[in-house]
Symmetry: C2
Subunit: 312 residues, 2 copies
């Protein structure tokens, strides 16, 4: 019986520091583990890779067709994308949604239930706090983290409005509005969770004017990127008690410098961009790589394909 014609197995190389578990994933995949970026068909960028070196390394890689990035956002790798817009670029968008949305929920509950003053208390204080049940929540963004956040929020019978770029309803939400209508939904919000990508269209979206629309009882949570919020305006709003509180896993600038006024706001929780730690995301990134290696070898669509024009 004649053999079926053999398809050459594509060569994929790791770019960046070693990633425990990656050799095993490559060994069980339908691709060859290459060693030379210049002759590879695909590149798997690992955590801690140098973006500048990536841009240089791929510039003349003639056989390269695909680059997998390890982060959900692509800002760090903008130069590399600019250098080779002809390639298929995939990010890890959506892959780390679960831990990040979990962190967003934790920050929301912690601010609603006055955790900052509980943690610092050395005496039995008066009871206080607000239940999340039944509140009106605005989620900004409609990517993986935002959708997982909506899923978690709906387990508390909240009313959820998603604010997104596209005029495309999110099924799990009670309401979807386009970004231009943000100002019309902020005045009714009990909680606002920012989980959008940082692009030219979203930078400073929570501007001074937007923050001024929030109720003094509103809670603001950011697990997207710090620059989505006007930090100075947020500091003013917290100082003047025009917000109940804030929970920020991302800040602008980041890292938040010592002495920054946000450190001293008693109703602001700052966590050091730790919604998804390295321990949490490594197995999730390996899962994503496993799926995309199989799809790449089979000429199927890859998950997390970057829309270079949209910026995510």
């Amino acid at each position: 019986m004649p053999h079926a014609p053999t398809t050459p197995r594509p060569a994929v190389v790791r770019f960046g520091p070693a990633l425990p578990g990656l050799p095993a994933v490559l060994a069980r995949s339908p691709v060859r583990a290459g060693t030379d970026l210049a002759r590879a068909n695909g590149a798997l960028v690992t955590f801690g890779a140098d973006p500048g070196a990536l841009a240089t390394g791929i510039a003349d890689a003639e056989l390269l067709r695909w680059v997998q990035l390890p982060t959900a956002g692509i800002e760090l790798f903008a130069d590399a994308l600019d250098a080779r817009p002809d390639l298929v670029w995939t990010s890890a968008k959506g892959a780390y949604a679960r831990p990040v949305a979990e962190h967003a929920l934790m920050l929301t509950l912690a601010v609603l239930r006055d955790l900052p003053r509980r943690v610092t208390a050395r005496t039995w204080q008066r009871r206080s706090g607000t239940s999340l049940h039944g509140l009106r929540v605005v989620v900004i963004g409609a990517g993986g983290v935002a959708l997982e956040t909506v899923r978690l929020l709906k387990t508390f019978r909240t009313h959820v409005t998603v604010v997104r770029r596209l005029a495309l309803p999110v099924d799990a939400a009670d309401r979807t509005v386009v970004q231009e209508h943000l100002g019309s939904v902020l005045p009714d919000a009990d909680v606002v969770v920012v989980a959008a990508a940082l692009t030219d269209a979203t930078r400073g979206l929570l501007s001074r004017d937007a923050l001024a629309l929030l109720r003094p009882t509103a809670v603001l949570v950011n697990v997207g990127r710090g620059a989505l919020i006007d930090t100075d305006a947020l500091v003013d709003a917290l100082r003047r008690r025009r917000l109940r509180g804030a929970g920020l896993d991302v800040t602008d600038p980041e890292p938040l410098p010592d002495g920054h006024p946000l450190w001293d706001e008693p109703r602001c929780i700052v966590t050091p961009h730790t919604a998804d730690t390295q321990e949490m995301i490594e197995p999730l990134y390996l899962d994503r790589i496993r799926i995309n290696l199989a799809a790449f070898a089979a000429h199927r669509d890859l998950i997390g394909r970057v829309d270079v024009a949209a910026g995510y």
Copy 2:
């Protein structure tokens, strides 16, 4: 046309301080709002009622058949129950499950994600934290709060073991074991949530020996009653880093006195029995009263009937 025979409408009185919303609920119910406990058929105990006065007041109330208590636990009213074991007693058990389970989840996530040191930080710290996703959780109790806690935990794909008095499986859990087997499930637990009633059978359930079975990475959360845990043993375990941390909404003694060593444990979050605040529970208690007034007038089973022998 002859009238149908008239059933006398039962008289129900409020016992304790005024409760906003209660007159409207009574007015729309099928019972009469009585004024005299001595001639009432039912008594609705409100928040802040004097348990001693209740025991005295009901002692000779010959027409009384039912007493509704405003709390989930019945310890406060033990003397009143002892005085009239012939009555139908209902507690608010289950009525406040949602906010209490929400608080249990908040404490769990906050300890897992190192919130105490984030709140007190004045500098950008190293990333750390553990995701709840996929962890093994032991929930102690199978009442309303415990079941709602299981529901919330399952949205994080956790493996949930319920420990209860009765040999009756909880469907939503992955595993149910009877209380006698607590010791066999503690060594594998990443998180233990205590949500049981305080009875002679559960007092000190998390004893020094039981706590010694927990992993040093385990998180202990208590939203039940303080005396379910041996406080001194818990202090020792935290000091000696034999636990990752604890989140306590209830303590023994309670209120936790100033200077108590738990206040100074950096990995222990103490909240002042505030999982369900007055604002959260008043509407939930009115809902429960509404349902039970209708059932009482119709001679149907009441919700939250106290099993005096079991103690809850």
